[in-house]
């Protein structure tokens, strides 16, 4: 048998393999989808549940002071926070399911609720 040439069967297998590969990327790499709700946690406990499509501003109390949170048009972010590094503020706008912004010093965190929570638990 001549093994050197690529046979028709090989071509079929490769085609199926390519299809499988593409579909695997599509299925496992798609973003969680736009979130509709966010949850604010203070000290690990749920403090508020926010509708992302109701524009609002909140002051969330923490040990260091108040973290200011803003909801606008399906997105939410930390506007300012009494922490030295401002990492929470620099995270910017969250809108996809599973996204989080955390202010560790003030023990406040924001998470967009999606179908598949990206983190099982957040502990400070």
């Amino acid at each position: 048998m001549n093994w050197v040439k690529l046979s028709r069967g090989d071509a079929v297998v490769w085609l199926l393999a390519a299809t499988l590969l593409v579909s695997v990327y599509t299925i496992f790499w798609q973003a969680d989808g736009h979130g509709a709700e966010a949850v604010v946690l203070v000290n690990g406990k749920r403090w508020a549940r926010l509708d992302l499509f109701q524009n609002q501003d909140l002051d969330v109390p923490g040990p260091l002071g108040h973290s200011h949170i803003q909801v606008r048009d399906g997105q939410v972010r930390f506007v300012n926070s009494p922490c030295p590094n401002q990492l929470c503020v620099h995270t910017g706008w969250l809108n996809q399911g599973g996204e989080v912004a955390i202010c560790l010093p003030n023990k406040v965190s924001l998470q967009i609720l999606g179908s598949d929570p990206r983190f099982d638990a957040i502990n400070f």
């Binding site: 050197v4 046979s7 028709r8 069967g9 297998v13 490769w14 695997v24």
Partner: protein, 181 residues
């Protein structure tokens, strides 16, 4: 009254090829790998060569013996590594069996080493991955790794297919000299 075990020629061939595959497997296990458990899978070349020259049944024996004996010799028998390895081998043997049967049923569409190599590699990786996900790391974060692992498997499958093809080509033309193939 003593009863002797009748050994056939096939038994010797299986033993010989399995020994070859096991040796390659152990030598390869000494190489460092960037990700845990990801190996080039060079021992699979033996499985593929046996598949193409002797059929699926012998290839299945060689593959499963390689996983079993290899794990005993390396010392990972019944460890998580062993179960992942076994899952991969079983999946790959099953897929090869399917393709082999289809190749026999439709000779015009017979699959060759290149096709077998890629199919076996993807099946092997999938078998390992899903057992790892189901039993060891049931976290959704692992799923993001699947496409990357499959891409790697496809590439390594092509490599093993190429190696198999080269070996088969050399085996079909006996080398000059007194060494019969």
């Amino acid at each position: 009254m003593a009863r002797t075990l009748q050994t056939t020629r096939d038994d010797y061939l299986i033993a010989g090829f399995a020994a070859l595959a096991i040796t390659i497997h152990i030598a390869e296990s000494a190489l460092p790998s960037p990700l845990p458990g990801i190996k080039p899978g060079l021992a699979n070349v033996v499985t593929l060569v046996v598949l193409c020259r002797y059929g699926w049944r012998m290839a299945a024996w060689v593959s499963l013996l390689r996983v079993l004996v290899g794990s005993i010799l390396i010392g990972t028998f019944l460890s998580p590594t062993f179960f992942l390895s076994a899952a991969g081998a079983l999946a790959s043997v099953a897929v090869l069996g399917l393709l082999f049967a289809l190749s026999r049923a439709l000779p015009g569409w017979a699959v060759g080493p290149m096709g077998y190599g890629v199919a076996a590699a993807l099946a092997h990786m999938s078998g390992q991955f899903w057992v790892a996900y189901a039993v060891f790391v049931p976290h959704s974060g692992l799923l993001t790794l699947y496409p990357l692992l499959m891409t790697l498997a496809a590439v390594l499958g092509i490599v093993s297919g190429l190696l198999t093809r080269t070996i088969l080509a050399r085996l079909n033309s006996p080398p000059p000299g007194d060494n019969p193939v």
